[in-house]
Symmetry: C2
């Protein structure tokens, strides 16, 4: 979908910072951190603006957080129709130990796990590490 339409569909104003950041997310197939995005941007937006842009995308369901054992948070585009109310990101994340990239395996569901009695699951998050298709 076109970036300006994505923004208005998610009740966000069409600003140049948001269009630029969204364009970068669309360009890459793996999860990006704040610093990845900052380096990739042509025009210099303020660091804080980039943080706020990521937050608004997260809040409106344009991106989701990708867990990773790295120090800084990473984010990737949501594929399904996500909204402020609900994220549909029950897929597996794969981190390649060669290239370091984390990607969403959108077609692979996280298996249900039998928990001990007394534990109630509401969300789950599976990160698999290894070697990705491009690196193997």
């Amino acid at each position: 979908m076109e970036a300006p339409l994505i923004l208005s569909n998610h009740d966000l104003r069409n600003t140049s910072a948001r269009l630029a950041v969204l364009g970068i997310f669309q360009k890459y197939t793996y999860a990006l951190s704040h610093s990845n995005i900052e380096k990739e941007l042509q025009k210099d937006f303020d660091r804080v603006t980039i943080y706020r842009t990521i937050h608004s995308f997260l809040d409106k369901g344009i991106v989701h957080k990708v867990m990773d054992d790295s120090e800084s948070a990473k984010y990737a585009l949501c594929v399904d129709e996500c909204s402020s109310d609900h994220h549909h990101d029950n897929h597996v994340h794969f981190k390649c130990s060669k290239c370091g990239n984390s990607e969403c395996l959108n077609n692979i569901q996280i298996p249900l796990t039998n928990l001990p009695s007394g534990y109630i699951a509401t969300e789950s998050n599976l990160l698999i590490e290894g070697v990705c298709k491009a690196c193997s």
Copy 2:
């Protein structure tokens, strides 16, 4: 096992900082961050010493990193015989959204997942969020 023995078994010198930090890990059933440990310590050790202590425990296989969507890294004692060479921590981690604690469910194995061709898994990490036994 006694703390001094654990240290020498893992080729670490018996220092007061390490004994104190190890004692704190043994006291809690959930994963701890650097700042959790710092607050819990009676004697004031330097922040850097605590960081270095955690690193040496991680390196020698006394603790393992516990993934969590929180900002700072958390660590918990290894149960099996872990070493510098290999961590045996293929268990599930459970984060309670009420108390905020992350614990190791050492008896629950992470299920194997069918990856697309070209992907090779070497490690996996499953974080389940919900309500823990104590809070439910």
